[in-house]
Structures are given as structure tokens and as C-alpha cells.
Subunit: 459 residues, 2 copies
């Protein structure tokens, strides 16, 4: 009995503690549930701070356009139609300047044409007989909206003028059908057009002049980064293929599998090209910048990425060639993978800096091609015949893939060189000379402090 | 002189002919320029006749909603707000039921929440002092639109609720800012909500009940067709790899390169999955059909397509193994490619008919696996050692790829079987029994006519 009492009292003593722990656990859960989206939002903002800028720009534009309601002289002019301006701002304000401009132009032109046609339809049908009038109007509305909807299926139209056709149908129907009830249809059409223009111009202005986000810049960087990702894979490949298993496990954590995003990058690139075409001259990009060429580079990059995917399969394959056999082809394979990596990185840097990469990448490609030839002859002279045949096949397949990778890289380099000549990238020696000059200046400064070691670090 | 005169007269005689030919050439050009889009439109309609249906449905919906303007008792109720109904129809009517429903629900709910918040903001700020009122309102507008724009960047939100957030900003701004000028803001909010609802319900009704186009059906067929394309490639592969060059040239015209579209099908499938989730029970698809599983099948299909791409590279490669050496591995390679092709086709047919394909595809996969094992041992026992090593490598690489293709096909089959068990596909014996029964009935009928040859043809 005494021990029972002791137990009870100890349980009673512990009760507040248990309750407190549970309560704390519950509150922690609630806090984590609430904080999870906040953390996600923080990450989203960190990944690309331009998202925060864009959100603030939209807020600013909407607030500014609301002023149409505040000032009497503006509101008296437009009345309820002021809402079209607010709508236009909210709908056409997109993340990039190109997308905003594209939507803006589409909306403006489509409102003009749709409105004019709507007016014409209204005039045509406004003869005596209410039923006849509405029947003819109904026929026009059916015809125009069905036709315009069908035209939206044309692939070229869909890529660039889809939104325009939507607004065209909208404007036509609103003006023609409102005209049926409203005699001031001309005034209405004028108000709709002018408010859409005000909203559009304000949006485009803020989009271009307040921290602009250019789709062309994004496309350019995407192209360069994709090529860099391939370079990163190729750099690490020979190390991972010709090392012992223990090292491989450590390496795996930092596995450079960025190339997978490259394979799936087609739709993003297509959208960016379509949008970039709307953008005016900006930063380093002139009028008529050859945006289409980026699609060609993208296709070649994806081809390389597919080869890399196959190489990666052999890295993780169950059937493996023993290391002592692999070592027989290590030298040319290492050269190919390093030289390809260097070439790809030079191409990427060349695109980023808009300096022609030919002089810097071509030597690496030539080295890789020479190594590929020596690898090919190594495979052909049959030195391996002493070795067990079954062990050899995966390594031979890797060797063949590496040889193909060289020609693939050369093809990619050609398309980048085409871009460089089309958009007149600077000659690389400009940079080299500049870099040398800067380096020399630093040398002079540092030698004054007299420390040879520092000079070599700085250069 | 006489000959000169003759020449001149002959030129004069030919002049009308030349003029006629040129005029005809010009008119032909004009006709072809005009007819080109017409021909394109015809092709678009032929490729997918549902495009024409959809266009007519949009025309019908817009015409019907215009009746709001025609009938006095309707127009008296809504007035100018009737245009929101027209706008709603034009904007939310999408190609598939799922997309239309998704946009409709987004628009409806967002109008409700945005309108309510707008009303609240209007009430909160409607105290004395015009400048104070508008400043506080402006602050709210900035805050809400910036915040909602930022939320649109969350990937999950972007996939399903992007349009909803846009409409939310729109409704909030329109109601709150119009309230500043219009005392009947409650009536306005009510009218906006009810007209949006009318437009939405009409659109969804026509979309579902007049020749519906289901995204789920499209996704299902896309998945089945993609797998079929791989089957078509594998069927033709062994013929093209083990045939003489002359035959290959003839074959090349009908090269089955449908697998390339499979590699690039990710974004289409992603969109369709997002849209299909909005669709109610229809046809063969029940509530909570496992749409996500199609993404898994799609990923496995693309993995197979990448392997096929590599195989295709070896078909067109410059370095080729001589035919007499290839023939040494012809038997297992042929078996693998044929059995994989059969298995892939069975999987595709199984998905199309929604009957569990395990019983029909698994035997083929087992055969392929057995052939892969025998090919592996053929490669390992080194019979080829007599042959020149360099010649052998490409064929060995093809053999390795085929072995990998078998495991890849098995993985794909597993994901299809998962789908089959998740969505309770019929057991295949149902079909087999039915087919047998039908066949037997035919046999009975035909044997009455007594012709054994015909029976075998009919079965």
C-alpha cells in the first residue's frame, strides 16, 4: 500500500511536467505548421530576389493606376471605364519585360481592331426590327468568336498572339453587344481603348524603368549556365570513373547531376525565346539580337546532355570493368573529359561575357579530338586482347561515348561561334589584353610592397 | 531587213502569250498565298477535328451569354455588369473540361474572396477625410497585390491556382477602389459575383455536356501512344540493324522516329495531369483516378526513349561492326527487340483498353530477360576473341544497351501494373474469355457455311 501511495504521489508530481512537455510539443507543431510557408517564402525570395522586386512593382503599378479614381478630372473623363485600366495593369504585368510588352501590344492592338469591328457590326445591324437586329448580331458574334478561337490553334499564332486573339473576341463582343443597349457606343469604345492604353503604358513604363527583368538576359544566362553544368559533369567524370569505390561513396554526395535539368529545359527556353523577341534594345543586347540561335544552341546542349546521361548510366551500372583494366585507357579518357570540360566552360564564360570564345575553346577541342583519335587507335590495336573480354565491354562503351562526346562538344561550339559572329561578340584578345594590363598594374603595385608570392596569387 | 521584220512580227505575235503566262504566274502566286493559310487550317482540323467542335462551342456559349443583353428582365437586373458574364465565358472557356472547370472554380472562388475582402477594405477606410481614406486604401491595395503576386511564385500554387490569384487581385482592387466612387458598392459586388457565376456555370455546362473534351482521356491516350511509339521502334530495330545496307536505305524513309516526341513530352504531360485533377468522374475514369501515376509512367517511358535514342545513334554511327560479326549476336538481339516490342505494345493496348496487361506483357518480358541473360553469357564466354577487336565494340555496345532496355521495359511495366491495380483495370481474362466466346460463335456460324479456311481467318 505504501509503495502504491509513493508511486501515485510521484506520478502526481510528474503530471505538470508531462502536461508541459505535451503542450510544448503541440505548440511546436502549430508553430512549425505556420512557419513552414514562411520558410518556403524566404527560400523563394533567396533563390531569386527579383521575385520580391516584381511583386513590389506590381503593387506600385496597381496603386498608381488606382489614382484614376482619386482625381476628379480623371474620373470625370472615364467614369466606370477606369476599371479597364486597373484590369489591364493586373493582367498584363508579367515577370519579364518581354512578356509584359508582348501582352501589352497584343491587348492594345486587339482592343483597337476588335472594338472597330464591334462598332462596324453594331452599325451594320442597327436597322429596324429588334429581333432581326439581335439575330444578325448573334450570327456575327458566333462567327467571329468561333473563327478567332480556331485561329488560336495555329502553332505560330499560339506562340505569340494567343492573348491578342482572346482580347479581340472580348472587345468585339463587348462593344457590339453593349451597343445594342447603349446608344453612346462610340464613347464607350473610345473610353475602353483609352483606359486600356493608359493601363498598358503605365505597366510597360514601370516594367522597363523600375528594376527591369529582361527575358533576353534570362535566356542568355540559362544557355550559358546549361553549358556550364555539362562542363561541371565532365570535369568530375574522369575522377569518379577512375577512382576506387571508397572515394566514390564520399564523392556521391556532391554528385553533379545538374545535367538532368538541362535535358528538361526545352519548354523554358522556347517560352523565353518567344518572349525575348518582344523586348527592345537593352543592356548588351541590340535590336534584332539572334534569339532563334539560342534554340539551336539549346538543342545541341541537350544532345550533349543525353550523351552525359548515358555516361552517368555507366558510372552507376552494376556491370563494371575492373579498375586495373580501366587504367589502360585512363590517360586518353582523362584528357578527353578534362579538355571537353575546359572547352564547355570557356564556351559558357564566352557567352556570359559576350566575348567570342573561339580562341579560348578551340585549342581544348583540338586537344580533345587528338585524344579521341589516340583512344580510338588504342581501342583498335587490340592491346586489350590479353584481357578477359567480358570485363572490357563497359569500359569500351564508355570510351566510345567519350569519343562521341568530343564531336558533340565541337558541334555545340560551332553553334556558339555562330551566335558570337551573328551578334558581334568582342574579340577575346580585348579581354586578354585588359586582363594582362590589370595584372601588370597589380604587379607594379604589389612589387612595390615587394612580395613575389602575393603577385602570383593576385594574377 | 526582211529577216529583222520577220523576227519583230514573231515577237509581236508572242507578246500576248508571254503577257498571259506572266499574268497567270502572278495570279497563281496570289492564289497560293491566300490558299496557304486555308490549307493549314484544313490540316489543323483534320489532325484533330475536336478543334472545330471546340471553336463552335465557344461561339455558341458567347452567343448564348449575349442574350443577357437581349431580354429586358435580365438586363434590368444586371445592367452594365452583364459584360462580366460575357468576359467570364470568353476567358474561362478552355479546350478541355478540366482546364475550363479549373479556371471556372478559380474565378468563382477568387471573385468571392477578393470581393469580400474588397468590401471589408472599403468599410474599414470609409471614415472622414478623403486623403486619409485614399491613403489607407492605397496601402491596402499595394500590400494585397504585392503579396498575392509573390504567392503566385510558389510552384504548387502556380500549377493550380495561378489564375485564381490573378482574379483575386482584380476583384479586390475593383471592389475596394470602385467603392471609393460608388456608394452602391454592395450592389456592385453582388452583381459582379452573380454575373461571373452565370457566365461560369453556362461555360462549364456547355463544356461538359456538348461534345466534352476530357484532359484525362487525352493524358491516358498520350501515355498509351508514347509507349506504343517505343514498341514501334523496337519492332523495326533488329530488322534495320541486322540487314544489308541496301535494304536500310529503302527502310530509312519510313524511319520510326516517333520516340523523339516522347523525350520532349514532359511539359505536355505535366499540364494535362494538373488539369485532369479538376475533372469529375467521366467515361472510364472514376473519382480519384490516380493521375499522378501517369507522371511516374511518363518518367519511365522517357527513360526508355533515352535508351532508344542511344540505340538509334549506333544505327546511324559511322563506326560499324561488319555484318558477319553482328550475325553472331543476331539471335538473342532479335529476340530481345521483338519481345520488348511485344511487351511494350501489350502495355499500350492494356492502357488503351483499361484491361490489366500483366498477363499478356509479362511472358514477353520474361522471354526478353532470358534472351538478355543468354546474350550476356554470349558476350562473357569470349567466343568473339577470334575476331578483330575494333570491329566488335559498336555491336557490343548495342548488345549492352539492349540488355539495359530489357530492365528499363520491366520497370515501365511495373509502373503500368501499379496503375492497373490502383484504378482497378479489368482482368485480361475477361477480354480473353469474351474474345474466345465471340470467336467460338463465329466458328459455329462459319462451320455451318463449312469452310475451315475462313474460320482460321476470322479467329
Amino acid at each position: 500500500m505504501a509503495s502504491d501511495n509513493n508511486q501515485e504521489s510521484s506520478v502526481l508530481k510528474e503530471l505538470p511536467k508531462i502536461a508541459w512537455t505535451r503542450l510544448k510539443g503541440c505548440s511546436d507543431k502549430v508553430v512549425s505548421t505556420v512557419m513552414c510557408p514562411v520558410r518556403d517564402a524566404k527560400n523563394l525570395g533567396k533563390q531569386d530576389p527579383r521575385r520580391i522586386t516584381h511583386s513590389c512593382k506590381v503593387g506600385l503599378a496597381v496603386t498608381l493606376v488606382s489614382l484614376l479614381y482619386y482625381f476628379d478630372f480623371l474620373y470625370d473623363g472615364f467614369g466606370v471605364s477606369a476599371m479597364w485600366a486597373v484590369m489591364t495593369v493586373i493582367i498584363i504585368f508579367d515577370f519579364t519585360v518581354g512578356a509584359t510588352l508582348g501582352k501589352g501590344v497584343n491587348r492594345g492592338v486587339a482592343t483597337l481592331i476588335g472594338g472597330a469591328l464591334g462598332l462596324a457590326a453594331h452599325r451594320l445591324t442597327s436597322f429596324n426590327g429588334r429581333i432581326v437586329e439581335f439575330s444578325v448580331l448573334g450570327f456575327f458574334i458566333f462567327l467571329i468568336s468561333a473563327l478567332a478561337t480556331f485561329i488560336r490553334f495555329f502553332p505560330k499564332v499560339q506562340a505569340r498572339y494567343d492573348y491578342g486573339l482572346l482580347v479581340f473576341i472580348l472587345s468585339f463582343c463587348l462593344i457590339s453587344v453593349s451597343g445594342y443597349r447603349n446608344d453612346e457606343v462610340m464613347l464607350m469604345a473610345y473610353r475602353r481603348l483609352s483606359t486600356v492604353m493608359i493601363g498598358g503604358v503605365l505597366t510597360v513604363f514601370i516594367s522597363i524603368f523600375v528594376c527591369p527583368i529582361w527575358a533576353g538576359e534570362d535566356l542568355h544566362n540559362l544557355t550559358a549556365n546549361n553549358i556550364e553544368k555539362l562542363g561541371i559533369f565532365m570535369e568530375g567524370f574522369e575522377r569518379r570513373y577512375f577512382e576506387t569505390n571508397n572515394d566514390k561513396k564520399q564523392e556521391k554526395k556532391a554528385s553533379p547531376d545538374g545535367y538532368i535539368t538541362v535535358i528538361n529545359s526545352k519548354s523554358t527556353a522556347d517560352t523565353l525565346v518567344n518572349v525575348a523577341k518582344w523586348e527592345p534594345r537593352h543592356g548588351r543586347f541590340k535590336y534584332w539580337h539572334p534569339w532563334e540561335q539560342y534554340l539551336k544552341i539549346g538543342a545541341n546542349t541537350r544532345e550533349c546532355a543525353c550523351k552525359i546521361d548515358a555516361l552517368n548510366c555507366y558510372l552507376n551500372s552494376k556491370i563494371q570493368t575492373p579498375m586495373e583494366i580501366r587504367e589502360k585507357i585512363q590517360e586518353p579518357c582523362t584528357t578527353i573529359s578534362q579538355q571537353c570540360s575546359h572547352a564547355l566552360r570557356e564556351l559558357s564564360v564566352g557567352i556570359k561575357k559576350m566575348s567570342s570564345p573561339a580562341m579560348l575553346s578551340d585549342p581544348h577541342i583540338k586537344n580533345a579530338e587528338a585524344a579521341a583519335k589516340s583512344l580510338e587507335s588504342l581501342l583498335q590495336n587490340g592491346k586489350w586482347l590479353e584481357i578477359d573480354f567480358r570485363d572490357m565491354i563497359p569500359a569500351a562503351a564508355v570510351a566510345l561515348l567519350l569519343i562521341e562526346m568530343v564531336s558533340c562538344t565541337a558541334k555545340l561550339a560551332d553553334s556558339v561561334h555562330e551566335l558570337a559572329s551573328m551578334s558581334k561578340f568582342r574579340a577575346p584578345y580585348d579581354n586578354a589584353v585588359k586582363a594582362n594590363q590589370t595584372c601588370l598594374e597589380r604587379v607594379v603595385v604589389v612589387t612595390r610592397v615587394s612580395n613575389d608570392h602575393k603577385v602570383s596569387l593576385l594574377c
